[in-house]
């Protein structure tokens, strides 16, 4: 649970509830963007964010996302476990 994983925003689902659809290594799930989405800096489709327990923690650039994804893929089991846990997530 301690991992933060990069995901790309594919759709803003609900501005009021601050929910968005993110793609994490091909797994598409709903996440909350309330910690990084405000008047000063809006999250937009195509942005990369670091996701922790279903919440976007930081907006990151693509270079950082690719670097972190590569590192996560290398750690193997712990990242696979995280993706398995993410895949059963159904945030509404």
């Amino acid at each position: 649970m301690c991992l933060a994983i990069p995901g790309r925003i594919e759709e803003i689902l609900d501005e009021d509830l601050q929910l968005a659809k993110a793609n994490v290594s091909g797994v598409r799930r709903t996440i909350n963007i309330g910690l990084v989405h405000d008047e000063d800096e809006k999250i937009e489709v195509g942005d990369w964010v670091l996701i922790h327990v279903g919440f976007a923690m930081s907006k990151i650039d693509e270079a950082e996302a690719v670097t972190q994804l590569k590192a996560l893929e290398e750690i193997g089991e712990a990242y696979e476990q995280e993706l398995r846990e993410l895949s059963v997530s159904r945030i509404e």
Partner: protein, 375 residues
Amino acid sequence: MKYVNEFRDAKIAQAVAAQIATLADPQRHYKVMEICGGHTHTIYRHGIKDLLPESIELVHGPGCPVCVLPMGRVDDGIAVAEHPEVIFTCFGDMMRVPGSKGSLLEIKARGADVRMVYSPLDALRIARENPDREVVFFAIGFETTAPSTALTLRRAKREGIKNFSVFCNHVTIVPPVRALLDSPDLRLDAFIGPGHVSTVIGCRPYEFISADYGKPVAVAGFEPLDLLQSIMMLMQQLADGRCEVENQYSRIVPWEGNLAALKSMSEVFELRPFFEWRGLGFIAQSALKLSPAYAEFDSELRFSVPGVRVADPKACQCGEVLKGVLKPWECRVFGTSCTPEHPLGTLMVSSEGACAAYFNFGRKSREREPVGAGE
């Protein structure tokens, strides 16, 4: 891959390692603590120790939320989970953490309704789907995770969900670091500051380490080169006789932290007067409970929890390892009666735990992937 090279390039890594060796005084012995379990994982995974001069010792800190939870709190969670009306939800890592009479996984096998969730928002969804059951979320984690619980509780309050509560075990990173600095057991020279926690709290909370204790701090990222660079920054400070908080991970960590996250935490939580940490004992104002405005969602008020302090099994030396006094392999049960498949102590459960990280990677130094390999 073009982006990754920047952080993995063997030449850069060797250059940084050479610079560290130049800065280290061979007559001195440096103890550098990495606070965060994620850093411990990278250090073992990539054999960072092998790139450093003999005079630099890396000491593993208390920054793994699963690892620092005392056995009594696991027992309290299990007592709540055993209520027949309860659906007890927790992160996957927590399922296998041993309590004094077994783990959540074991009571699940005996019929308790314990469910793994990815997010506290999944726990809230389960509450919505099961209005006739009591849904409890076992909240653990440092300031990285606490804002997620805070936003989930805001949503529960807004929707008026009555059958949802949080068994709050959120902890804060600064008090245990201060406790370690005050501990006579351990003399530390410098700190590698945690990455993810600092995205929330920023760098300012570490200033006391420099100001009051005269030790340098470098907040670091999770790539091997991030760690090497942060160690170089610390060695440079020590060589210059400076002690400051520096931010190696500024591409992710804002100096002031995440204000929206801090605001949500201050609304939903308040500090507990004290909280027990595995290995470190009771530390004042080191953990969070729900604020009066959110008391209706507090599992500890909704259910009676035993609240009994339980000592670790005698054979288990997690406490000494957590304080950095023992290395994982110096524990008397490491790799024998305590393994990742059958953990006795928490440090063997989580992949961020020093013992699991060393068990999985540290022992296999010849098979380990060196920095810069495969590019």
